[in-house]
């Protein structure tokens, strides 16, 4: 099963004719993702690698039954693209774009939730259910199909962790990049709820970082309601306060959002926290039977 995306996922790539859009469309097709259409306003009627390009997302839904969208639209226009997808009836919206103004995101998440759609990102590598489909930019070859769910606020750090899991034969059910921005479409808790109901997922790895309180909220939820084993890693133990560490959401501000507070919170709720990134694979073998 996995969550949110699987072999029934039909993807429309928004911004397909741009450099990133075209490159990653090819990569996704190579992985086996079912891309049914692309959208670039004004370029409708053309084609990329055999994929029809349309002017509007609603056409991708009406004509090609797209149910998932992957957005490679530049920051000034990305919020509009997300909202267009939600309004057109897309169920899962994956926004790869980094650099979207925060005030745009505040308005967008409210609207998207009202439409009942799930937003992954922005500023995310995407979502992958190994062996079934990949909606995003992660390197498919380091993933392996299995039963560990992976939730992360990061990009390449996620690949590092997944690679270690694959090497010790702990395959993954679904891996999701929540996004590196301060305001993202869904939280750890939102996805944990889904993993709870997914019979294929037997355990979860959580990869967090400095900034915000998402990990602390996850810790509480896991203690109260999530009985499958969880292992966590938090990046940024050495990050100085007040500085934005790459990700717009990775900032310790007003004394809040420190890595050690998150680690403390997870540990005190009974969750194993890997402190040394190199030990992730080894520790996972102990946590996940």
């Amino acid at each position: 099963m996995g969550i949110l995306v699987d072999e029934n996922t039909k993807v429309v790539v928004q911004g397909i004719t741009g450099n990133e859009g075209t490159f990653h469309t090819k990569q996704m097709l190579a992985y086996g993702t079912n891309i049914v259409a692309g959208v670039t306003p004004g370029k409708g009627g053309t084609e990329i690698d055999g994929i029809p390009v349309l002017n509007r997302v609603k056409d991708a839904v009406d004509i090609y039954s797209a149910n998932t969208s992957c957005i490679f639209v530049p920051p000034p226009f990305a919020a509009d693209a997300m909202i267009e997808a939600a309004d057109a009836g897309i169920n899962v919206i994956v926004c790869i774009t980094e650099g979207i103004p925060t005030l745009d995101m505040i308005k967008a998440v409210t609207f998207i939730r009202k439409c009942g759609a799930v937003l992954i990102g922005p500023n995310t590598p995407g979502i992958i259910s190994p062996g079934k489909t990949k909606v995003g930019i992660m390197p498919g070859h380091v993933h392996k199909q299995g039963s560990i769910g992976v939730l992360s606020r990061s990009g390449t750090l996620t690949y590092e962790v997944v690679d270690q899991l694959t090497r010790v034969d702990l395959g993954q059910s679904t891996c999701i990049g929540l996004g590196g921005d301060p305001i993202v479409g869904a939280s750890f808790v939102d996805h944990l709820r889904r993993f709870k109901e997914d019979t294929e997922t037997k355990g979860v790895v959580l990869i967090g970082e400095i900034g915000g309180t998402a990990e602390e909220e996850a810790a509480e939820y896991i203690k109260e309601e999530f009985s499958k084993p969880v292992a966590a890693f938090i990046a940024g133990q050495t990050a100085p306060p007040g500085r934005r560490m790459g990700h717009a959401g990775a900032i310790i501000s007003g004394g809040k959002g420190k890595a050690e507070d998150k680690i403390q919170s997870l540990q005190s709720h009974g969750i194993t926290v890997v402190l040394n990134l190199g030990q992730m694979g080894k520790t996972a073998l102990q946590v996940f039977p």
């Binding site: 920051p75 103004p101 390197p139 390449t156 750090l157 690949y159 990046a235 990775a250 402190l275 990134l277």
Partner: protein
Amino acid sequence: MKIHEFQAKDLFRNFGIPVPSGTLATTPSQAVENAKSIPGPPWVVKAQIHAGGRGKGGGVRLVKSLKELSKAADEILSNSLITPQTGPTGQKVRQVLIEEGLEIEREFYLGIVIDRKLESTVMIFSQAGGMEIEEVSAQHPELVLIETIDSVQGLMPYQVRNFFYALDPMPDKSMLKGFSATMTRLYKLFLSKDCSLVEINPLVLTKSGNVVALDAKINFDDNALFRQKEIAQLHDPYELDELEVKAAESNLNYIRLDGNIGAMVNGAGLAMATMDVIKLAGAEPANFLDVGGGASEEMVANGLKIILSDERVKAILINIFGGIMRCDVLARGVVNAAKEVKINVPLIVRLEGTNVEEGREILQNSGLDFSVAQDIEDAARMVAAQVS
């Protein structure tokens, strides 16, 4: 992005938020000359640096004569100002803001921030003004009032009344108008300039019954600067580390730290985790550097050069997990950098991911002197060996 107090007050003026009369000066004699054009004595002389806590470091002084003003300006402008937020070497002060001294009746705190958990802007108001709001929040949470500002409704009149009628003692009801105007205009500023934080601490009620912003702090959303060109111009290059400015020019995400092991990584999360690995190995990271997913050979070469121009760096760890970023691109970047800048410190390279075999081959055949780490554990061991 941060700006100075005087720039924030200019913006406040544009939005009709009352601020004291003020004038800028870069020398003591200019300070004296310009002070004559504003009401006073008394005057307040304020160091213009981004870091907070200026008062604690002697960067905010009340003066009662032009002689005192000249002395204060001279002392502030000729010494580095050290505050709890500047670090031990302090910050050079290039300008002072001179303002009329006001007769203060009461002090308040007013701010707007983005609350990540609520996914909304919130307005924060407290009658405990002129103090550290985080301390007030910890010790007297009942004095810190918060209103969530709905993105569709905006700041509603009842929310302003929620703040005002909670005050104890309550000011005269005629004061509500002044607070209301300031709060409404502050929110308008926040939205129209894409702020991430605005703070007035203290917001004062003068003895003559006026609401005035005695201090002003505004941070802007870096992601929105593309559509805030005028705001982007307010940036002060003197407030940034030289190497960080250079890195930004090459579109590299670089933050200088205090240690001696340089690091170059693709991806912010992995870069932070790599810094942590260095620390766990018993060393101290010299920097955070994220070359990003789409980094070109040139960007990689520039990144390496910037790390190498930090004299404290005793060794460099390159940790790349190639997803979009390809290991062969990175390897070529390293080799090209080595041709331009002598790599005179030990180099530890750990490559994994897309085109890894090609990348490793390019490094092997380059004739460069470096160590190859098989995985993170291995890289950490090699770093530890450097420092012992």
